[in-house]
Symmetry: C2
DNA sequence: CTGTTAGCGCTTTCAA
DNA sequence: TTGAAAGCGCTAACAG
């Protein structure tokens, strides 16, 4: 029956168990394990006895119970389209690091670009009592209105700046970066440049398109609309159709700009399939850097988004709001870094 | 003073609030929102009134309070060396998906290969009351002995099978896969093959080394010990030193096997730095696939680990243990998939 | 069919 | 310097 008398248990103890075992009250125990022994002038011997017991048996304070009482969980939630995506994976890692450093934990969830899943994820995390939420939203954020439990959950958006979002937002400088890449490609290829993009309605992608268009306009490139090719989805296979359209011109593109690494992967596959290799004089521009790009036998420009910077801004904003700062619907823009490398193979 | 009378609040309600507002008891409300209306034969009108109220005002059940009472959190924890690493990112995504599908949430933490951080992460997650824990351990798992709160936290290890671990473990078939890659490289390069590796003491890497050695032995390759080059850490920059040793022979290696993508990246950088391009007849074998590998101008073999398979096995094992199944210290081996692609550039 | 009650382990306030 | 008591929102067992 009662195989568990409290003293035979292995594993860490609760505060009440320690109190009973040492003969002091819960309050006293809590003061010493909470590091408030000095402040409450606990007798040295009392303190020593309690600390010895803890050292011997261990202690894990139950955050569940603590949260219930204090109405805060020291946890923050993250909702992204896809955790396996390199950008979001790095963002997750950076946020997790900041959580750890401040004694918090990170709860993660993926929306797979599905607003319903996103809503479920948010509700689930809020129900778990997260103090704050970082979301890379897959739709205009109207759905977030009523979700905040008692209005107490802080919220910041990342990666996608929907117009007139009421939430603070942190994004990369997509338009400026796209402008820089495009201008350079146009310069290198004498204006003969194509853009391969997916999900043009996402704010981040729309900004990249705008940057591309502005650069083309600035350089006087004609018929730029015919040079913008939209894939059905942001995955390598979806790049096949638009690439077929490009290759139907009967020659390799001179310069190719991609709005994501996945598009680039798809494009390269198609080129390799068509020509047996990557055309030597091709120039490529892309968003999101990957070290393997350096080994490709083409001239390549990429923009590395500043995940640590984005994470830092988002986290700081979130913490400020959790600490009671008024929410401001500002959009923080974090610059990326342009990486240009001459082609290695022809060097 | 009392600006909040309970009915003026916006946002979802607690069960007690709904009970008071509708005039029924908490039990009744709980039965209908918990989908147990049928089972307890709640009057249809009662049910309709409650459901209407919920539809109008929303409801978020407080998992914090529920957990405190039920002693389970419907949450599982994941501790990996680095969330940004592509393999672990995919594993995380797969686990998160399985959590979502079963109404759980995933709490993530990184150890950065530091046993102390790992212990902190585990303690933090256990303190949060996770029902189960998936860990890619960075040291022999002796430290996990006492951590399980009340002995109730299920635990399964992934990616690294330490000898005589008392916990169920799920890993890739590193040795067999390495054997296959090595055998093929030896065949293609007439036995002229080098291995670049980091962290040879990790069980996964040790297994890959063993597979390499066995293949070399089987093919009668001489002086294989001289062909194994160890980097100081699993990061591209650390590959510089061992690559320098290889290149000091005055010629490009014929076949190069890497125990991780990061090693491969470092190796390719060095080759490009040395020769201005990748040597045309180089053959490369590596662990962990990446789509960009397909665009490299070298013949390449890679083993794609089966993250969904690993996640599925780990999750199933964890759920079984949480459901009361006895813990078995078995090691599940999930086969990877060998991807071989002829060189695109010389094709 | 519906309501009452007693805690889960913690923090907080008040008392001694 | 220490202790007692109330209660966070929920579930579970038992009464009607």
């Amino acid at each position: 029956m009662n195989e568990d008398h409290g003293s035979r248990r292995s594993g860490p103890r609760t505060i009440a168990e320690i109190a009973e075992a040492t003969g002091f009250s819960r309050t006293t125990v809590r003061f010493v394990v909470g590091g408030q022994a000095e402040r409450h002038r606990i007798k040295a011997e009392t303190r020593a006895r309690i600390e010895a017991y803890v050292a011997a048996h261990g202690l894990v304070v139950d955050h569940t119970a603590r949260s219930l009482r204090t109405r805060r969980s020291e946890a923050i939630g993250l909702v992204v389209p896809d955790l396996a995506n390199a950008f979001f994976a790095r963002l997750t890692a950076e946020l997790e690091e900041r959580c750890r450093a401040t004694g918090r934990v990170l709860l993660t969830a993926s929306s797979h670009e599905d607003p319903e899943r996103e809503a479920q994820a948010v509700a689930g995390l809020v129900g778990r009592g997260v103090d704050g939420l970082v979301v890379a939203p897959c739709r205009p954020p109207s759905a977030f209105k009523g979700i905040r439990r008692g209005g107490r959950t802080a919220l910041v958006m990342v990666d996608r700046a929907y117009a007139r979002s009421p939430w603070p937002t942190v994004v990369s400088d997509n338009e400026a970066a796209a402008h820089r890449i495009a201008a350079r490609l146009i310069e290198l290829a004498g204006g003969d440049v194509d853009l391969l993009c997916a999900c043009p309605d996402l704010p981040s992608i729309a900004d990249r398109l705008a940057g591309f268009r502005a650069a083309a306009r600035g350089a006087g490139v004609p018929a730029i609309a015919d040079r913008i090719h939209v894939a059905a989805g942001d995955e390598p296979a979806a790049a096949a159709a638009p690439m077929a359209a490009i290759l139907a011109r009967g020659r390799s593109p001179r310069a190719l700009m991609c709005t994501s690494l996945l598009m680039l992967e798809g494009a390269l596959s198609e080129l390799v399939a068509r020509f047996g290799r990557l055309p030597e004089d091709l120039v490529v521009g892309t968003f999101d850097h990957h070290p393997l790009l350096d080994a490709l036998p083409v001239r390549i420009l990429s923009v590395r988004q500043d995940e640590p910077g984005i994470a830092e801004r988002a986290f700081a904003t979130l913490v400020a709001e959790m600490a009671g700062a008024p929410r401001e619907a500002v959009c923080h823009v974090v610059p990326g870094r342009l990486v240009e490398r001459g082609t290695a193979v022809t060097g």
